[in-house]
């Protein structure tokens, strides 16, 4: 008969086997997040000294913040009905919040705000928390007039954008666009989301294709006010400027990033070619020289390359020219009509308009010509693409509702929505680069 030790060892082996089977390791593959946007909790804002004005302002400020955060396309604000604690009662600072109450409803960021108003002077104390690390990420106090409230909220949204993406976002940009005024077309400038539009041109004529300088102080545009298409270069603050009015057409201005000079198409030489001009309108160099028309220049963020439209191969296509070596490469090869290039501020993609199957749609392609994606389809005519400064959003013109309106979508083509409503038809949106100093 075998020794009892044998049975003991056998018993432990079996024990190990059973234990092992209980703790067996499995891997589960999780490949598709259901939440494509960052969930952020924005509880009601707290009036700090009480008073009806503060309460009303608290409501308006919160709506402004929520709208701006959702404008980004990568944030979703959680329904306040699901919040467990109320900072209006408990307090808005880090020690007042119980962060478990916020992680448990699924929020990954929490924004609180306290408002003080007295005699038209407004103070906003805004705080952004990370409830998982239980830290204050950024806290700011803004003071100014009650009228500055939207600017204050948008500056804080820039802080939130910077925390999440490393870029300041679109909040401090202004939007230039063209709107019809009866028979005429005039240029307007509004806040980044189309609020508070202000008429910039009063030429009672056709004024189109606005272009912002890098510092946001100058606007170049084409106007037929003089009977001929001329380029106007206007300083918006000092209300002064220059005019480029050579014989023939002077159209499609585009500023060189970081410089007080621009490129434009001039046809005084009987052929539409792209020329380099100073900010005052003096020609410094001829950039293109081909027998087809060359229009719509647009520069890479570092200014070293220029995309433009040329008919040199028979049909309008997008080309890229190196500014130093003057070598030209064709970018678009599909379709018989590709125009309106817009270079992404990240430098890696170009949006353009293509006509295919009777539809006018917006496409995005890598600067090496690969990865072409169609962003719009079956929704009327879609033209004039323009990127937001953080390359996350594209504004464009669309006639999907019948009248031309300005729409916005994310850079991948999702969440297409109309920006605003206004009398007449709106086209040609252009976001300025913006800066956090606003």
């Amino acid at each position: 008969m075998a020794s009892p030790i044998f049975y003991i060892v056998l018993a432990f082996l079996m024990l190990g086997q059973v234990a092992g089977s209980r703790a067996q390791q499995v891997y589960i593959n999780i490949s598709d997040p259901l939440l494509r946007k960052i969930p952020v909790a924005v509880p009601l804002f707290k009036p700090l000294t009480g008073g009806g004005v503060e309460e009303r302002l608290a409501g308006e400020a919160r709506v402004t913040l929520v709208d701006a955060l959702e404008f980004t396309g990568y944030i979703t604000v959680l329904d306040p009905l699901s919040y467990i604690e109320n900072p209006v009662v408990k307090g808005i600072t880090r020690t007042d919040l119980n962060f478990k109450n916020w992680t448990v409803i699924g929020s990954e960021l929490v924004v609180t705000c306290g408002i003080v108003e007295s005699g038209g002077e407004l103070e906003l104390k805004l705080r952004l928390f990370d409830p998982f690390t239980e830290r204050l990420v950024v806290g700011k106090v803004y003071t100014g007039k009650v009228n500055d409230m939207r600017r204050m909220i948008h500056r804080f949204c820039s802080e939130i954008s910077f925390h999440l993406t490393g870029k300041w976002g679109v909040f401090s940009s202004r939007l230039a666009f063209v709107s019809t005024r009866g028979q005429n077309k005039e240029i307007f400038v509004s806040e980044f989301d189309g609020v508070n539009p202000r008429q910039v041109t009063r030429l009672n004529s056709i004024s189109i294709s606005p272009a912002w300088s890098s510092d946001g102080q100058w606007l170049a545009y084409t106007s037929y006010a003089g009977g001929n298409p001329d380029i106007y270069i206007k300083n918006l603050i000092q209300n002064r400027g220059s005019r480029v009015s050579f014989k023939g057409m002077n159209i499609t201005p585009a500023w060189i990033p970081g410089k007080f000079s621009l490129a434009a198409t001039l046809s005084f030489d009987d052929d539409q070619e792209i020329y380099l001009l100073t900010g005052k309108g003096k020609i410094t160099k001829k950039l293109t020289d081909s027998w087809g028309i060359d229009v719509s220049p647009c520069f890479s963020p570092d200014g070293k390359k220029m995309a433009f439209v040329s008919k040199r191969s028979g049909t309008p296509q997008v080309y890229i020219q190196d500014m130093e070596s003057d070598t030209v490469q064709r970018l678009t090869f599909t379709g018989r009509y590709n125009t309106s290039p817009a270079w992404s501020p990240d430098g890696d993609k170009i949006a353009f308009v293509g006509i295919a199957n009777g539809e006018i749609n917006i496409y995005v392609v890598g600067i090496d010509g690969t990865g072409q994606v169609q962003l719009t389809s079956n929704t009327g005519d879609n033209e004039d693409p323009c990127w937001s400064p953080d390359a996350g959003l594209i504004a464009f013109t669309s006639t999907r509702e019948g009248v031309a309106r300005i729409y916005v979508m994310t850079a991948t083509g999702s969440e297409q929505r109309r920006l605003f409503l206004m009398d007449g038809a709106q086209t040609n949106p252009e976001w300025s680069l913006g800066n956090e100093n606003n």
Binding site: S31, P33, F132
Partner: protein, 316 residues
Amino acid sequence: MDAFYSLSSYQAANRLSPGPDESGFRSVWGIILCLCSVFVHLVLAWGLFFIQGIPPKRVLPQVIQVDLVSLALPGEVAATPGGGVKTAVKEERVIPAPPKPETVKTPVKETVKIPGPVHPKPQSVVEKKSEPAKAAEPVTVAEPTVKFALKKKTFKADKVMESARESIKKKVETSSTGVDTTLERAFSRLEKAVEAQAGSRPVAGVAGVSDVGSKGDKSVLTPIDLYNVELMYRIRQNWAFNERLAKAEQGIQARVLIKILKNGQIRDVWFETRSGNRYLDESALKAVKKSNPLPPLPKGYVTYDLGLQFTPSGLK
């Protein structure tokens, strides 16, 4: 004489073989002692093993777990729930004390358009003193009628709740024939998903000993397979990831290991492999933390060690 001799040589002879009668009695006693000792050791070993199963004391917020059978796959969730939710919220604000079924519905964001909230996180349920029995109905509220209070004075909360309850009762009765088919469809979908999961998962045994019963046999779905699927859905629901914020190329992957206790509590979370992309790693960690606590483990499991592989598709 013979007996004397056999007795005197007892000590020497007994080691090799138990002697007859008395010596046999003593060797049996020895074996019993031995077995007792083995038994005590076994008990000790099992005890040590199970002490790990006692969860440490943790302070958790008051949470009522609402377990509902998912009647729709996550892919069917509306992609842009924002518009739908906003209008629903505005209607709800008019009512100071909304009837309970609506509190189950409104805080749930993504499932407003689906007849049946799935999330275990409608936390305002806690504040409204809900009864878990009603919430655990397999047929959940589709669209409870919303009462508008035109004048606050004429609004009576009890009557509203009463009429809401009645309308729900009616809906349950009228759709009772439909209940079984939707449940059956849901179960068949779940089964298919579980089979897909069971067939394709790689299994890594901890002790190097394979368990014959739970591997490779695709036609038999074990409770742990169902648990895996439910767990995957749960964590997916809580995983917020935006490709734009990741700024990463295709193919990055984060691997997280978790230890789940018997009651579903996640006891440990740690990275097996970080993806190198800080945003993805943090989002994976947050997804797991938000999914805590998970449903209780199926019978027979004291703890469950599990690996989660987060591979976001759709990166540029």
